[in-house]
Symmetry: C2
Subunit: 197 residues, 2 copies
Amino acid sequence: MALASWRSPLARALHHNRSLTYSRYVQLATVRLNGQPANRTIVFRGFLNDTNQLRFITDSRSDKAEQVSQQPWGEACWYFPNTREQFRLLGILTIVSAAHADPALVKAQQLQWQELSDTARLQFAWSHPGKPRSDSDRFDPPSPDPVEPLPNFCLLLLDPIQVDHLELRGEPQNRHIYQRESSTESHEEWSVRSVNP
Amino acid sequence: MALASWRSPLARALHHNRSLTYSRYVQLATVRLNGQPANRTIVFRGFLNDTNQLRFITDSRSDKAEQVSQQPWGEACWYFPNTREQFRLLGILTIVSAAHADPALVKAQQLQWQELSDTARLQFAWSHPGKPRSDSDRFDPPSPDPVEPLPNFCLLLLDPIQVDHLELRGEPQNRHIYQRESSTESHEEWSVRSVNP
């Protein structure tokens, strides 16, 4: 698939902010089961193969996994400190566990697990996130298998349909909104317009 | 009003990250009119007087002003890079324009305007945010009055009812959830519990 037009400014931002580990951290907004918004920091893991879908990881026991199954829309807000620019990526979230119906996505989920550091993998062997902490909880479990994902490990995909790019450094500021106009398996059509910041 | 118990770890985080301008930037999630989540970076401006409400600013012409009038719940996600910790503050948002019914809040809105830099005030004299940009749009308007706010200037308040504090540096990690149990005009009762990260 051809890269969407917003991929080039995003790649540039990632490059110019690569000295900061946390320039790969984004804040993901979802909607809670009761209709209230939720927001948390997650780590960008790259794009899915040759698509425009962003890869993240999550635990099937987390609140966001439950939220996404009810309301699959999410907006990632990504601020780059060095270049003072922000990308807001609105799209559909997909949670990929080993039980997902699409074998290509299950393959991607396995590869994602294998790419993780030991430390990152270990978190999926921890006690149930968000539950009351007790002394019996296990935070020093044995290292999980580096090849076969633990059952609660999920790949989280964000498939953007709108990207709002704001450059605070402009004169006065620049803001572009990219919109996906159509898409097929192999091609996406994106429009871009300049709007007031 | 007594400071809520989460104010002390938050003050510590602000102190230890004060070298980074952007440690005062937070991502605010709201819900769009169509039920999808929205997320953007905003600047923390301090607390409202002796309350536990966080102050931000917004333009009455922005999407978030419209979103808040329909769904007043918001969650701010605040990541502190130096200390590797995150606060998620869930609460009710209030938009305070000059027309607000509470004179004390209108007073706070005026003071907020007067505290802003000239550059920050100027943005409220810009053309309608989010509308298509055209050459006739004004981004070099005369400086607005530093005393009397422009009519589209609003104070934005977040009154938290839950604060989720995650410390990535812990062994393994520490996570505390603060919950507001009750509140009167002069007092708030907060509980805190330790949960699995």
